[in-house]
Subunit: 228 residues, 2 copies
DNA sequence: GGATAACGTGAATTGTGGTTCACGAGAGGC
DNA sequence: GCCTCTCGTGAACCACAATTCACGTTATCC
């Protein structure tokens, strides 16, 4: 009785308690693929249902509407991305090692699982304006803090020469990373990279990653001793 | 007779020759605003027609369909952006002066006319995948070439220390500019900038521009003599 | 094993908005 | 004045996809 009541408040009428985990996974993956491929607006719930082998009804039992389902897909893929990134940042102590590792992982991942990064790109686009503020806070918040702190510490300890505001430095650095991710996953950015760097690089994440490491190292390190 | 025939091939049945210039301008501006605000998919042709004071019929007499109209709006706003940028690059001879000027102009413009830059952002999103290749070629082609050449020349003449591949350097540099534009025009990127740099900077394009100039100067120049 | 509730189904409903087209107004020619 | 051709109009049409819901199926409890 108490449980019934609670369910009502948590999920609303007609919603069920939970979905079996493998079905949930299939649904999330189908959703992520679909949204990455067509974008929030053109993705079709019916198609997602078909792909994941359930009926549309199920989607609407567990998610209020398309937006709600989309946000769930975003959360799902974000969790995976964050886990990857967090482990990279955690395991490396020195700044350049961390940056090097971060960039390598990022280009590899963006190239290997474009759908996650396309979804990330999708939320930056106009169709998600409504959620821009909360999504930005959730997604960029921790990254911004971590980068700023690492840079500030490195500046104090004299390990990097560049003296600009740590927060802005973190911002520019992350801008470079963000563009790099998109360049290996989103169609327009991929083409653009091909035009700038040469088409032969469109499938060479390591080469571009390596070049960016040099670029960043030059700015932050000021010398060559921290590269190689 | 001959003219009739020609019109057919150029425009298709039911299309007219031309629109009076001020109506055209109103239509383009309404379209740009609408697409910037709602994105390609959510923008409503009926609404655009109403805003620009013509009937939907007119839109479909002059443009094949919504996509066609959208691309016309993109071309229109792009021409304006390119004119601005070209004049900046042309009038400055030395590299750092050029970069400085470029960045200042860009942040000012993005902050003053967000719609143009939102539209630019829109074409990088998934909903325009169909046109990604040709749009990228058209939009990024000339910029990529100009930046690469300037950087390569500066390297040869020893005016910059950074020795990385000029094309990739141009790419990273333009990545920074692109993110900067979006950060002053598109909602998600604006929020993100607020989180990284502090909310007080969300309306201070000059401050961020100045910081980026320092950042870039450090990488390219290697020393402080070219700043000030 | 039957009653009840939980869950899943997908055809039907519905709203939105792109696109069409039958019609009216004005301009130019005869 | 009348005919014709150009141009503009906006109500009506229609496709598409989000959302619903009446109905089966399965699970649970007694």
């Amino acid at each position: 009785m108490v449980h019934e009541r609670r369910r009502f408040f948590l999920m609303g009428w007609g919603m069920y308690k939970k979905l079996d985990p493998e079905a949930l996974q299939r649904i999330m993956e189908a959703g992520i693929e679909e949204f990455a491929e067509y974008g929030l607006d053109r993705a079709a719930m019916n198609h997602i249902a078909k792909t994941s082998g359930v009926s549309v009804g199920v989607l609407y039992k567990y998610y209020k509407d398309k937006d709600d389902f989309f946000l769930a897909c975003v959360q799902y893929s974000l969790r995976l991305l964050e886990e990857t990134m967090a482990s990279v940042v955690r395991q490396e102590a020195d700044l350049m090692g961390c940056i090097r590792n971060l960039i390598h992982t990022l280009v590899q991942e963006a190239h290997a699982h474009p759908a996650y990064y396309k979804l990330y790109n999708e939320i930056t686009s106009g169709s998600c304006k409504k959620y821009a503020a909360e999504l930005a806070a959730q997604i960029e918040g921790s990254t911004a803090k971590i980068y700023s702190e690492i840079i500030e510490r490195a500046q104090k300890e004299g390990r990097i020469e560049f003296a600009g505001d740590p927060r802005m430095t973190a911002f520019f650095f992350d801008n470079l990373l963000m563009m790099l991710q998109f360049s290996f996953s989103c169609e327009y950015y991929r083409r653009r990279m091909g035009i700038f760097c040469g088409e032969e690089y469109m499938d060479q994440p390591e080469a571009i990653g390596e070049a960016l490491i040099q670029f960043v190292a030059t700015t932050l390190g000021g010398g060559e001793e921290c590269m190689r």
